[in-house]
Symmetry: C2
Subunit: 367 residues, 2 copies
């Protein structure tokens, strides 16, 4: 373990590290950064899985790349899902979310995507991956190129008890030799390749892909990301049910991203794009209102499939625990389907329902 | 005066009433409500001009009207401008803004709209009106039916030292006999007239009008308002420069209004409406970015015309004082044009310019 007992005790005392349970595993979860220990860091069985660092976002591609990087960099596809770190601890393979929870869903499904023999060969390996797809329990949007269930895309490798990443060349070698499903790597570029990168993003935008993550090919490994206008619209489109929970900058930052993407690509905002943006705001909200009028509440229906029935129950308990007063989780169905269990549940945001209830009854707002 | 000295002293002690100067007039301005004295109330020369009360907004027309009213009500056109109260104090006619400032601009222009003999006949009269038009100093949006300069629309009458309004029948009589320019009154309705009211709003929406204010024809005079989808889009369209200053609910509440207007009118959101909404978000922001790149800053150019040159200078001083750190006011031009002085000035929001500067230089955002 590369964290000392005093560091852990300090984080616990400050309530930045919290003892958490998953099945029979008791682990320490950093719910916030504490000194140089990142949020999402987990300590379990005296091993440390370091948090995945935040990646800044540039909104002007050309100036951003030359401002952020002073060496060649790799460009990898950014996939719209949730971030996990996968490792083997005490003989068991677990998946940890960005926030440092062992995820009952992802942990259950790892074997569908990663051959566990990887951890026989390389026991201290930590696989950093995005999980995306329509049947995931966290994210309401998903890539257009995934039709059903989920897929897993590896984008980084670390080791237990170490906070850095495996260098890029080694990473790509490992991904190949372990046959890991990986995000698409577009290649190694310099800022002189701006035209090529811009062209890739234009194509990504047309294909409904989210964007690129850029990783400097140096030991410091500076990173930055850049998203397509399609991604900004997809984010807005998926906000209907939790629209009242969003921070003030949610819309402004996405509209700014969108405007700067158009400018970068030398595009006018076409009538088609305007229409997409307007529909992104209205489609979901009108559906939520119709749902409220029909069922007495607006909610988002989630579906995901598990190998073990118990994992589905553990996910429900986990989601209810994390949502607290902000959302209500209601199980709708849990049925066997071939070798999987299919769970359906609703996530309901009381704030939207309370407001709609008041307004549709004829109540007033003051603003 | 119907406010006691102890009430005034309490409000002053709590910093809810503030001594303010306009030319040689010293007045007490209620910057916040204090007990039952409304925000915007002004005390000058021992006379009280009571604040104009806030009017709640219904988002569901039919249910809203029957929930809010238990008697017939008047429907008046809601005009997209700023609210003033006009009265004569110490021989001088002044116009007071919603927030309780004597407005140098409106005060200067009153004579263009209201015959001062009104106050000879009725010295304690307080005229409540909306001032709207492209050449106004406060509001970035304006009604489509006003091509240039400003117009003034009376919608209520009060008396000095009294907090209630003149009853509707008397109000309409006074408006007629004093030849005051008034908002359009659509008539007296009951909740059984919902179809007619809905039809008026559909027409208003097509004509680019803002909406209706409903005023119960009872001594309690409950009021409520309802706006068209056109109004919500116009609000969004006019936010480009101060997009970062907006409270979190700014967009959500307008999109909710828009969605509920469509539902009320039994309209699907057409491709045309989606396009309008998308363009409302993007047009202004793209123009602001282009302006930043060309001039080094994004700002909104205001223009308004005065009878007196000094009034223009007083407005600039007033705006700078009120804007404080949130916006910068820069005079651009002040020239004579016939019998008026035309002032042009820019309102610049440093927050947007700082953010654009950082992003266009290639800086990162974390979210």
């Amino acid at each position: 373990m590369n964290l000392g007992e005093p560091q852990l005790q300090e984080a616990i005392a400050k309530r930045k590290a919290i003892w958490t349970d998953f099945a029979d595993i008791r682990y320490l979860r950093f719910s916030d950064q504490c000194r140089d220990v990142l949020r999402g860091t987990v300590v379990v069985d005296d091993r440390v899985i370091h948090g995945y660092p935040r990646i800044g976002r540039i909104l002007a591609l050309g100036r951003g790349l030359s401002e952020q990087f002073s060496a060649p960099f790799w460009a990898e596809e950014k996939v719209d899902g949730y971030n996990v770190r996968i490792c083997r601890i005490g003989g068991r393979t677990i998946a940890i979310t960005r926030g440092g929870y062992i995820c009952p869903f992802t942990t259950d499904r790892i074997v569908d995507f990663i051959d566990s023999s990887v951890f026989d060969k390389d026991p201290d390996l930590v696989i950093c991956a995005e999980v995306a797809g329509p049947d995931n329990p966290y994210v309401e949007s998903c890539p257009q190129f995934i039709d059903s269930d989920i897929e897993l895309f590896v984008f980084d490798l670390m080791y237990l008890d170490r906070s850095g990443f495996i260098p890029h060349a080694d990473k790509y070698r490992c991904i190949e030799s372990y046959e890991l499903p990986a995000v698409r790597c577009l290649g190694r570029f310099t800022t002189a390749d701006l035209g090529k990168i811009r062209e890739t993003l234009r194509r990504f935008n047309e294909e409904g892909r989210e964007g690129l993550v850029f990783k400097e090919d140096t030991p410091e490994r500076r990173c930055t990301k850049y998203v397509t206008s399609n991604s900004s619209i997809a984010d807005i489109r998926s906000t209907a049910e939790n629209i009242l929970e969003l921070p003030p900058e949610y819309f402004t930052s996405r509209i700014l991203r969108l405007a700067l993407f158009l400018r970068e690509q030398g595009l006018e905002h076409s009538a088609g794009l305007d229409r997409q943006l307007g529909a992104a705001f209205l489609d979901g909200l009108l559906a939520a209102i119709a749902q409220y009028e029909q069922d007495g509440k607006a909610h988002h229906r989630f579906r995901c499939r598990f190998r073990q029935r118990d994992s589905a129950l553990a996910l429900l308990a986990h989601l209810s625990d994390v949502a607290r007063h902000k959302a209500r989780i209601t199980r709708r169905d849990l049925r066997q389907d071939g070798e999987h269990w299919v769970l359906e549940y609703d996530r309901t945001y009381p704030s939207l329902n309370t407001l709609l209830g008041n307004l549709l009854k004829g109540g007033q707002m003051y603003d």
